[in-house]
């Protein structure tokens, strides 16, 4: 379903010394539909760059990224929204719309895909209930705790039943209690048939999951194991 083919990403002057930084170095791998894959590595290993390439937020310097055989960096800019609607994204910094309430944040994605008002009125409260935020429906993101924001971000990512959920360090800012809550939600989403790509540097989570683990170091894949463990 997802394929990285000899992908290299070099940021020209991103490093403190002013020299180009190689964030990803000739990496290739494939993710099958309905898989749960964790991308692990130290900070700066290239995890976030990998996910940003998958969201077409960045373009690769070399190589190709495919979703269902479609090279997402070759398509016209006008077609990009349609590709992104097939993906649900969860970010470490939540990326919620600050001027919209919890309900509106989730409903916005439905509006974007052109769902009708009845569908929105039916599905949004349901998903908000799944993530346990019914009491917070009319609150703005600034009024929510870190854990609540992340649960809202998950609600937004899954409301339109995407084929893939990308979670970029979703527990990075959370305490252990909220962390296990978020991971439980992601596993539940995966059980319902969604492909999940989780990037993290939380050893405990990876070792508990018992799912496929791709380990990155200095922009290279150093390990790719089914039922992998966090080894660095």
């Amino acid at each position: 379903m997802i394929k990285f083919q000899e992908v290299t990403k070099i940021f020209p002057t991103n490093s403190p010394n002013g020299y180009p930084t190689t964030a990803l170095d000739n990496i290739s791998f494939e993710i099958k539909p309905k898989e749960f894959v964790s991308i692990v590595g130290r900070s700066g290993a290239g995890k976030t760059t990998l996910l940003r390439l998958l969201m077409a937020e960045e373009k690769p310097t070399r190589g190709q990224v495919f979703i269902d055989g479609l090279d997402i960096h070759k398509i016209k800019p006008g077609k990009l929204p349609a590709v992104r609607r097939r993906i649900g994204a969860v970010f470490q910094d939540y990326k919620l719309l600050p001027s919209k309430t919890a309900y509106e944040n989730v409903a916005y994605v439905m509006e974007v895909i052109g769902a009708d008002d009845l569908e929105i009125a039916r599905d949004v409260p349901e998903v908000i209930e799944i993530v346990g935020l019914t009491e917070r429906t009319n609150n703005f993101p600034v009024e929510l705790s870190g854990g609540e924001k992340q649960r809202l971000s998950i609600a937004r990512a899954l409301i339109h039943r995407p084929e893939v959920i990308l979670a970029d360090e979703p527990t990075g800012n959370l305490d252990p209690y909220n962390t296990s809550d978020i991971i439980r939600l992601l596993l539940k989403i995966h059980e319902l048939g969604t492909t999940v790509v989780l990037s993290t540097h939380n050893k405990e989570i990876i070792n508990k999951l018992g799912k496929r683990v791709i380990t990155l170091e200095n922009g290279k894949i150093i390990r790719d194991e089914e039922e992998g463990r966090f080894i660095l």
């Binding site: 969201m55 006008g78 992104r84 001027s99 916005y108 895909i113 052109g114 937004r156």
Partner: protein, 305 residues
């Protein structure tokens, strides 16, 4: 399609009503810009009125000998009117000239005394000729000197062109200079006002750069993101127009009689009501276009994610 448009309008209104501070700042700046645009429109027309009022005062007079018959003078008036450079020709009879003099100087004992002493009517019949431009008076004089039939030429006592030439040229130079300065000043002010308004809106949108990026990442199309900003800009434009219109109406209503007292024939309130729809059109188009175009330009670079 209809649902998307409805959502764009709803979202635009929502952002506008929730970001009260930013909306108020935008409206304030846009109101200033619209007021300036309207003032320039009024200034242009009012200065035209003043300039033509001053130019009306510049003319030359052709005086006729006492023996000249009114019929002949009227014939010459007809001939002069046919010259393309001539704007109008006014006939002032001997009697009218005397009447005007008395009317003007009735309180001046010395002049009235002198008039009595001279006895009868010392004034000559005259034609007051007004041309469109200062340079065109020479053509009128040439016509009187060369082209006019000799019979008629003999009836002319004098033409006061050469005495009045420096004054006439000065009046025309000053008024056309004032016009040019006014236009240049208006253009500079309009550019400054538009840049200020544009930058205020740009800063407001800069505040929402992250939000625009998020909208792109969840798959919103460019129009779905841009639309609410345009609606927001247009709403600010409409509200600014209404405020400007009210302020302007009050200023014109309040100052109208005072300005008319200073410059007779210039009533700004009448000018405002007479040009009401043009003013609304100028204000609405300035407001809506400024709001919507500025938003559209400012948002462009954030849509590249």
């Amino acid at each position: 399609m209809f649902t998307s448009i409805k959502r764009i309008f709803k979202s635009g209104w929502q952002s506008f009503s929730r970001d009260g501070d930013i909306a108020a700042a935008n409206i304030f700046i846009m109101t200033m810009t619209i007021l300036l645009a309207t003032s320039l429109f009024l200034f242009k027309d009012i200065s035209q009125i003043l300039i033509s009022a001053i130019r009306e005062k510049a003319d030359i007079s052709v005086y006729f000998k006492t023996a000249a018959q009114e019929e002949d003078i009227l014939n010459i008036q007809g001939e002069l009117s046919k010259i393309p450079e001539v704007k109008d020709v006014e006939y002032v009879s001997k009697e009218k000239a005397l009447e005007d003099f008395i009317q003007r100087h009735k309180d001046n004992q010395v002049l009235m005394g002198s008039l009595e002493e001279v006895g009868g009517n010392p004034f000559l019949a005259a034609l007051n000729v007004r041309a469109f431009e200062a340079s065109q008076y020479q053509a009128v004089v040439n016509f009187l000197d060369a082209t006019l039939e000799p019979v008629y030429q003999n009836l002319i006592e004098k033409v006061d062109y050469y005495q009045r030439k420096p004054v006439i040229e000065r009046i025309f130079a000053l008024t056309s200079g004032a016009g040019k300065v006014g236009i240049s000043l208006s253009i500079v002010l309009a550019i400054v006002a538009i840049l200020v308004a544009f930058n205020t809106i740009r800063l407001a949108i800069l505040n929402q750069a992250e939000e625009i990026k998020i909208q792109r990442l969840v798959g919103a199309s460019n129009w779905f993101i841009r639309g609410p900003f345009l609606v927001q800009g247009a709403i600010s434009g409409i509200i600014s127009t209404l405020i400007s219109l009210l302020i302007f109406a009050l200023i014109c209503w309040f100052l109208g009689p005072k300005i008319e007292f200073l410059f007779s024939g210039l009533n700004v309130w009448k000018f405002f009501t007479g040009n009401f729809f043009t003013i609304i059109l100028i204000q609405l188009s300035t407001g809506i276009l400024l709001g919507a175009i500025s938003s559209s330009i400012a948002i462009r670079k954030y849509l590249k994610v």
